[in-house]
């Protein structure tokens, strides 16, 4: 009996062994041909299609270098080398052309009653200082900024590579440092003039009459007329936009990545060229466009007749303010 059991144990063991071998064999045989290391490997095109950027991990401290590929730079390139040149070219040359046509058509806006010879103070020392601080820095920033966009095609050919690089590098430093003074100017200007630049009913009338620029009378205006208020708000919006995006670019990778920096550059340069175009209108109006206007920012005093014709409400307000003493002083001697 014990002998039979021993035999059965042997047979069962042999069967079990045969089973294990039989089930294991096919798997072992398939192993080498089944493994395809690229079957689950990351694919470049797939990553680009899904994410438009390929990022990974690296071993050097420079974490921004962990971006392996970022082909979106191509769209930025298209903007920088083509689109921006068109926007800037059309805006700036277009405005200059319009101003030239307007000047040839209407000429200078004269003081109709002629100069009275008497003047009143329009802008005090602080106002003039803030204006010129902003204006001078704006011009430097504008020229050095336009140089980055248009210099390569306009200046480089006749300046030569050495001189152009030298000038552009100084331009870059000037642009970076002077930006702080410009920003200060914009902020000061905002607090100084915002109260007088809030839109009023008089501005609606002013715009309806085209500011008297296309014939007809110029509607009475306060210290700033509708057009001047428009320039003020464009300057504030433009100033804030270029300042914010400019500082984003000035401090690379401070909470930004390459995509946000490209975006910042697009906003910065687009707003900047439009800003420059808008300021040409302002410069025209303040110099050759309107007789007697420049003096307001020159020594601060404007002719009384100019004040009556262009800013009647402000003139009346000023007369009341200065009261009897000033009024008496202005009365011609008998």
């Amino acid at each position: 009996m014990a002998k039979i059991f021993a035999h059965m144990r042997l047979i069962a063991g042999a069967l079990a062994l045969a089973f294990v071998v039989a089930t294991a064999w096919p798997a072992a045989a398939q192993q080498p041909s089944m493994v395809n290391p690229t079957a689950d490997a990351v694919k470049e095109q797939q990553l680009l299609d899904q994410l438009h950027i390929i990022k990974g991990l690296g071993t050097i401290p420079d974490t921004k270098s962990y971006v392996l590929e970022h082909p979106a730079g191509r769209e930025w390139r298209e903007y920088r080398t083509v689109t921006l040149l068109w926007i800037g070219g059309i805006a700036i040359l277009g405005i200059l052309a319009l101003l030239t046509i307007f000047y040839l058509w209407k000429g200078k806006m004269r003081i109709k009653a002629g100069r009275s010879g008497r003047t009143i103070l329009r802008f005090n020392v602080l106002e003039r200082f803030v204006h010129w601080l902003t204006a001078v820095t704006f011009v430097i920033l504008g020229i050095t900024g336009l140089n980055i966009t248009f210099g390569r095609s306009l200046l480089l050919p006749w300046m030569g590579p050495q001189a152009f690089s030298e000038w552009s590098e100084w331009g870059k430093f000037a642009h970076n440092y002077i930006s702080f003074a410009f920003t200060a100017g914009v902020v000061l200007m905002f607090f100084m003039w915002v109260a007088r630049n809030l839109p009023t009913r008089a501005d609606v009338e002013w715009f309806k009459a085209g500011g008297g620029m296309f014939g007809g009378e110029e509607p009475p205006a306060h210290k700033f007329n509708g057009g001047e208020k428009l320039i003020f708000w464009l300057s504030m919006l433009g100033g804030v936009a270029v300042a914010v995006t400019g500082y984003v670019l000035l401090f690379p990778f401070y909470g930004t990545n390459i995509t946000t920096m490209e975006l910042a550059q697009v906003v910065h340069s687009t707003v900047a060229v439009l800003y420059v175009a808008a300021m040409f209108v302002h410069i025209y109006m303040g110099t050759i466009g309107v007789e007697g206007a420049f003096e307001a920012m020159g020594d601060g005093n404007v002719d009384v007749n100019w004040a009556k014709e262009r800013h009647l409400l402000w003139y009346e307000e000023k007369m009341q303010e200065t009261g009897a003493s000033a009024g008496q002083a202005m009365r011609p001697a008998e």
Partner: protein
């Protein structure tokens, strides 16, 4: 003349960073600047791949197109180089580059950038070949000595290939045919607008 290219065979790269070290040493690249780096994608997951990346010396290079002072030039071997005398450190090439190749030393205030530095395909710069000035600004000029870039020459698994585009493409094709798989020539479509048919 050859059309020089880099090709990183991601199925061979073992992320040893020898290429990075070789490059830094050969060109005396200063602290904080890496002309070449290795990026690992899907680190620790199935299908992980490492790719050694530097300037790819693109066809119709975006950096050259956007440079405001036109300081880039392409050599007869199609290597994209630049002049540090002309560079003003504006950072535009970094915005445009698909591979993050341009590097800037931090000089002066804020994020002020110095003269841009990038991989030269071991081909120096505009100065006389292997002159002291060239070495100080751009590092060694191995191409002028008839040698290929050191990163690829030193690659322990021969993953990184550098040389004439047709030749290295052929080597890669043969590899793929023999081993039966290949995850492609990373960056080629972006840099050269062409890929290797395998």
């Amino acid at each position: 003349m050859a059309r020089m290219k880099f090709l990183c065979d991601a199925d061979r790269c073992i992320e040893c960073n020898a290429c990075v070290t070789a490059c830094k040493n050969e060109h005396e690249v200063p602290w904080g600047i890496n002309r070449r780096r290795v990026v690992t994608i899907n680190d620790g997951k199935p299908g992980e791949r490492s790719i050694s990346m530097a300037c790819m010396h693109c066809t119709d290079a975006p950096c050259a197109a956007v440079c405001p002072v036109n300081c880039f030039y392409t050599t007869a071997d199609a290597v994209v180089l630049h002049s540090k005398d002309l560079c003003i450190g504006c950072g535009y090439c970094f915005y445009a580059c698909p591979f993050g190749a341009p590097q800037y030393p931090k000089v002066g205030n804020f994020g002020s950038r110095g003269k841009m530095d990038k991989c030269t395909f071991c081909a120096g710069g505009p100065e006389a070949d292997n002159s002291k000035e060239e070495y100080e600004k751009y590092g060694a000029n191995r191409l002028a000595e008839g040698k290929l870039p050191l990163c690829a020459e030193m690659c322990s698994t021969k993953s990184l290939l550098a040389g004439d585009g047709d030749v290295i493409a052929q080597i890669y094709k043969e590899r793929v045919a023999k081993r039966g798989y290949g995850s492609g020539a990373w960056g080629w479509q972006t840099a050269y607008r062409e890929n290797i048919a395998t």
